[in-house]
């Protein structure tokens, strides 16, 4: 392969500072000009003088380093006065190529990378990856591990929605909720610290089960958390559900009909906010979600306010699910007892020769699904459908690992949602879509 020649450029700090990645920026601006926005169809055609370009029109770059864009999202918008005419999103500033990296890792080794995808709910990503590998390699998971995973997933959902609420409200100008929501997240971190050994990037799930058992002390912490936060979330609802400022900022903003939401491929709370009943926990129940009793909040308005209501109700449903998990948590093993499919327990590793060999073999080559097969498994992450498509070539490394990231699909919808709104609504819209760039950028 040829090595690209070194490109001659002016040194930064001299005249050429703003023309970094020329071709890239030119392509974005060209797209902005040529784009046919949905707005164009609704606009009256023909008569009327064209607006004075110098007075009304302006191209504005928001991000990638703007704090309100929730990460490194770059919005290039064409403004007509205060209103957004057209919008082009540029992502990839956090692109690490984790799909390519997966091809050089064993299945178990890849897990810490999933923590860093949607870094607001790492537990969900771990479980999504493990379930995908387990489906590909046909590995059964013990009952107890499935219930533990469910507790972890729902706690992660609560933590993610809490951050969304706090940050979303701060975008709209209310700072105190941010602090309250972060108190809640802090308590969830403590729980994770107790049962996973890490606060943030937990990596607790394992292929064929989970890493460590949940202790009675942790169960008590989870119970206390549920009791406390059920009340706290109701308090938040009391503060916000009829809050004049919050409703004025959100009602009728970014309205997406059910048909349009499906067409744009929105997922998660954004899709359900438009009235489409699509939740993987019901659509394709995984773990034990078909055995617990919970409802899926649904709204038909399709605006930012509907998405807010859905997320808050989802938090209460999560607490309901966690309570049932605590009640029904069965005794038993936490990892499947097959050295070809999962890590042996630590007792085995420390006190038996075979255990140690198996541990070594599992670390070096790991689980080997059959050659030439592929499968897809999705879970409902807080952002929406998070799925892995895996292809195997019979070795311990995935031949192809494809990540279907909910933030990526949601951002695609955001590009259309923004058009026709004033600049001030951009932050509210980005907040209500709840993108995480770590996941969208892969």
């Amino acid at each position: 392969m040829e090595i690209a020649p070194q490109i001659n450029r002016a040194r930064p700090g001299e005249d050429d500072v703003f023309s970094f990645w020329d071709r890239h920026n030119k392509a974005i601006y060209k797209r902005l000009e040529s784009k046919h926005a949905w707005l164009d169809d609704a606009r009256p055609q023909g008569d009327g003088e064209p607006a004075d370009a110098l007075e009304h029109q302006m191209t504005l770059n928001i991000g990638p380093q703007h704090p309100a864009t929730h990460g490194v999202l770059r919005c290039v918008v064409k403004l007509d006065g205060e209103m957004i005419d057209k919008c082009v999103l540029d992502i990839g500033y956090l692109h690490r190529g984790i799909e390519k990296l997966a091809e050089a890792k064993t299945y178990q080794e890849y897990m810490p990378y999933t923590d860093r995808m949607d870094y607001l709910s790492p537990y969900n990503n771990n479980v999504a990856w493990c379930l995908a590998v387990e489906k590909l390699a046909n590995i059964e998971v013990p009952e107890r591990a499935q219930w533990i995973r469910m507790i972890g997933c729902e706690l992660a959902r609560l933590s993610s929605h809490m951050l969304w609420l706090g940050v979303g409200l701060m975008d709209a100008g209310a700072v105190s909720v941010f602090l309250w929501a972060f108190q809640g997240r802090e308590e969830i971190y403590n729980i994770f610290d107790h049962f996973a050994g890490a606060r943030f990037t937990v990596s607790h799930s394992r292929i064929g089960g989970v890493a460590s058992d949940i202790t009675p002390e942790t169960l008590m912490l989870v119970q206390q958390f549920c009791d406390k936060y059920e009340r706290v979330i109701h308090d938040w609802q009391k503060l916000l559900n009829r809050n004049r400022i919050w409703i004025d900022r959100n009602e009728g903003i970014g309205v997406i009909s059910a048909e349009k939401a499906l067409e744009l491929g929105l997922t998660g709370p954004n899709l359900r906010g438009s009235g489409v009943e699509y939740d993987i926990r019901r659509f394709e129940p995984y773990l034990k979600y078909d055995e617990v009793d919970f409802t899926i909040p649904l709204r038909t308005e399709g605006d930012c306010l509907a998405r807010y209501f859905i997320r808050l109700e989802e938090m209460l449903e999560s607490i309901k699910i966690i309570r049932q998990c605590l009640e029904r948590l069965p005794a038993g093993s936490i990892r499947t007892d097959d050295a070809k499919k999962a890590y042996p327990s630590k007792e085995e590793v420390y006190y038996s020769m075979e255990g140690m060999i198996h541990d070594f073999m599992y670390t070096s080559s790991g689980v080997t699904p059959p050659k030439g097969v592929w499968s897809y498994h999705a879970v409902e992450s807080p952002k929406g459908e998070l799925g892995f498509y895996l292809e195997s070539d019979g070795t311990g490394h995935p031949y192809r690992a494809r990540l279907n990231a909910p933030s990526f699909t949601n951002l695609q919808g955001l590009e259309h949602m923004m058009e026709g709104h004033p600049v001030a609504d951009i932050v509210v819209l980005i907040g209500s879509i709840d993108p995480v760039m770590g996941e969208a950028d892969k």
Binding site: G92, G97, Y278, K340, G394, N404, K442
Partner: protein, 218 residues
Amino acid sequence: MPETLKFHFTPADPPRPDEANPHAKESTQVADVIDQLRDAFGEAIGEQVVYAGEHTVFVDKARLLEIAQHLKAELGFVYFVDCGGVDRFTDEDRFEVFYNLVNVADRKRLRLKVRVDEDDLHVPSVVSVWKAADWNEREVYDMMGLIFDGHPDLRRMYMPEDFDYFPQRKEFPLLGIPGSLPLPPQTPRGPLTMDPYAAAHGSKPVKSYEEPKSEEEE
């Protein structure tokens, strides 16, 4: 003479076709949809593969757009979930594109696959059928270099336009190609970083700080 010991790594048992997968879902068993497709398009519908309770069907690249329209209009697959490319690294039909489609009302999930030869990297774009395919197809173009005919905006998704390679092809090195992508300088007035993994490529990494001048220099 003692027998020499041989250590072999025994791979997992090959799957039996009747083996039940504990993670198989009802929604992915869509043999009836594939039969309906076969009735409507005949020869264009190729091999059907079942693994882990998931049905995958290979379709003819030339008639992909018709099949997509039929799936959306007649069979209710209105929700486009995902599509991606696979580099099989074979002489013939090197690339593969898969489409992950969902029928929300009837609870069905179908996977279409299209094989693409290296000599003809063109695939018909399905953006006209499902708008959601827009970014996904751009990503496949960015990563694999497949060209989607009829796509309204075929730019790179993640990499900047200034990048000349397709990083998810199997021949692309994991550590990247030095000099292929200018990155911001490490120090305010320093040169552009042409190789972020300089140490791995055997050259000296650029320092991310400016060393204070020694007394002699002053």
